[in-house]
């Protein structure tokens, strides 16, 4: 079995780890680390009788995950302190949100930059408040600023030199030029306050956003972790009354039905997520193509399918920017 598929099957059912031999472990741990899933795997396998060398590596991964969690929550707190005086709603997204809301998707998760969603009308005041509080632009180039402000769904990235942590301020969850145009106002209106001045998306919006994020990149980088988030969220919210209905309604509202359905089908194939068959529909031929792309890493941790990666790469630009704009953008970058 390909190491990435082995990783997925052990994540889905940790008992399967009890029958693994040395080389299986070597490949599985290497792929887990490369796919940023080692912390999650370490928590899933905690307490099982495994080879000592494996137990030690998994214990290290839990140390890293604990530290990552502390840093992520602290970065969110420092952003909250900088933005609290503005009285603007601040919605935390992705990994930091899962941890802040205590969801199983956050357990052992490796967390990167802080992503926040604010109303589009508040972008300027948020920008100035962050700059006043010590954040600085990562890229000084004016063209990038223009590109970000007009075509992307976020401010150019900011970093805080005291902590070397980056923050991405979004006003919607997909670039405005992308075909599906999510309802940003609804995302913020239905966000759930955490009680400390920050909020997280509603359960259904979290899943829709995770699906949008997975395909928005086009090259599906970090796809296995993204689908693991979706698996954990679906299982956590499965007991909410008629959750499938709520999820379908939100996906429709954000014009992200196709993306959400495909993400759920892929999660089901990869992690055996219990999903309402009628809702996500039967698996399609193209699902297999996505799955091959997602599980392309070899036992040494190397990406193994450059050809298909290129196809997806072009698609990622197309999703972000319609063909006409794509040509101009690439041309501007090349000429500059």
């Amino acid at each position: 079995m390909r190491p990435a598929l082995l990783l997925a099957s052990v994540l889905a059912d940790p008992q399967r780890a009890l029958s693994l031999a040395g080389e299986d472990w070597q490949a599985l741990l290497t792929v887990a680390r490369a796919e940023l899933l080692l912390g999650s795997l370490a928590h899933r396998l905690d307490g099982l009788a495994l080879p000592p060398a494996v137990v030690a590596i998994l214990a290290d991964a839990r140390v890293s995950a604990t530290h990552g969690r502390t840093q992520a929550l602290w970065e969110a707190e420092m952003a909250r302190r900088a933005l609290a005086p503005l009285g603007v709603p601040v919605v935390v997204l992705k990994g930091t949100a899962f941890v802040a809301a205590g969801l199983s998707a956050g357990v052992g998760r490796s967390i990167g930059d802080l992503d926040i969603l604010v109303p589009r009308t508040a972008l300027n005041v948020v920008e100035h408040a962050l700059i006043d509080a010590g954040w600085e632009w990562v890229k000084p180039d004016p063209y990038d600023h223009l590109y970000y402000r007009r075509w992307m769904h976020e401010l150019p990235p900011l970093t805080h030199p005291e902590r070397d942590r980056m923050i991405d301020v979004h006003h919607t969850i997909l670039p405005p030029t992308a075909r599906p145009t999510p309802d940003a106002a609804a995302l913020i209106a239905d966000a759930l306050p955490l009680g400390n001045g920050l909020a997280v998306l509603s359960p259904a919006d979290m899943i829709v956003h995770a699906a949008a994020h997975l395909f928005a990149d086009g090259d599906l980088a970090g796809g296995m972790r993204n689908l693991w988030d979706i698996d954990r969220l679906l299982r956590e919210f499965a007991d909410h009354p008629d959750f499938a209905e709520t999820l379908r309604a939100r996906a429709t509202r954000h014009n992200l039905c196709a993306a959400t359905a495909r993400a759920i089908r892929l999660a089901r194939r990869l992690y055996e997520t219990p999903v309402d068959q009628t809702w996500a529909g039967r698996s399609q031929v193209t699902d297999g193509l996505y799955l091959r792309r997602l599980t392309a890493r070899d036992g040494w941790g190397r990406e193994r399918r450059p050809a298909s990666r290129f196809a997806f790469y072009v698609r990622s630009h197309w999703i972000r920017m319609p063909p006409l704009l794509l040509a101009r953008h690439l041309w501007t970058k090349a000429r500059r």
Partner: protein, 288 residues
Amino acid sequence: MRHGFAVRVGPVGFRIGSEWQAPVAALARLYEGYPAPPDGVADFTVRLEAARPWRRWARPAITIRGDFTLPDTAPLPLAQGLLAAEMGMNLQMALGARRWLLLHASCVERDGRALLMSGHSGAGKSTLSALLGERGWRLLGDEFALLDPATGLVHPFPRPVSLKNESIAVMAADISHERFGPLIAGTPKGDIRHLRPAADAIARMAEPARPALLLFPQFGQTEDLRPVGPVESFVRLTQASTNYVALGETGYAALTALAQGIPAIGVDYPDTASALRLVEALWAEAPR
């Protein structure tokens, strides 16, 4: 990968994959007698790759990759494959170690007690620890000291010592030829040659030791000794540790205990002979 090598150094298991045969052959010779990773599972993976497929043959250059990488690493010529593997292994420790507080320090042991020497690269730590390793001390490591937060003991990491330029001749004077790796010339740090630790140091790589004395050695015009207080010692050690912050409160507790628990002395020395003499004198005075 086409070629592979696996080895255990102290408590850490490494596997190195390479697109060329030469670096792996050189590793096998240099690490002869070292054990393999336990349970057949290495803690860290290093990959020696060609940046572009054709770079395997045309002016081959090694790109160092692995579990942990730095984005700006410069490729090395194939002839420096052994150095590339060493750098890859060091980087995995520097960025990935979590079981111990990692100190960029040399460490030698005598009757169960450890002498730690911390300082910037180029302060002569490696040469000093290699010399002591031939003069009645057991070499625990020339590059990294592994402080166990639970016990306060230092675990050995006896990798082959990386000797640079003049110190190659200093060591070659009275050590038999076959304990040396090949001469690697024209590296960013000049000439490099690796020296295998004494057989005893390799055989006893699982035996930790209790830290007893911490020195901050530095080349200086004249001999000078300066006691270093616990606060300064603590701050300097945080700058010599790549995983202090990542260990959180455990790291804080382990490092404050070390900085408060053992005497620390700044040592300026004009030459190797005076360094050896000063170390032996300071060790004799160190509390039992």
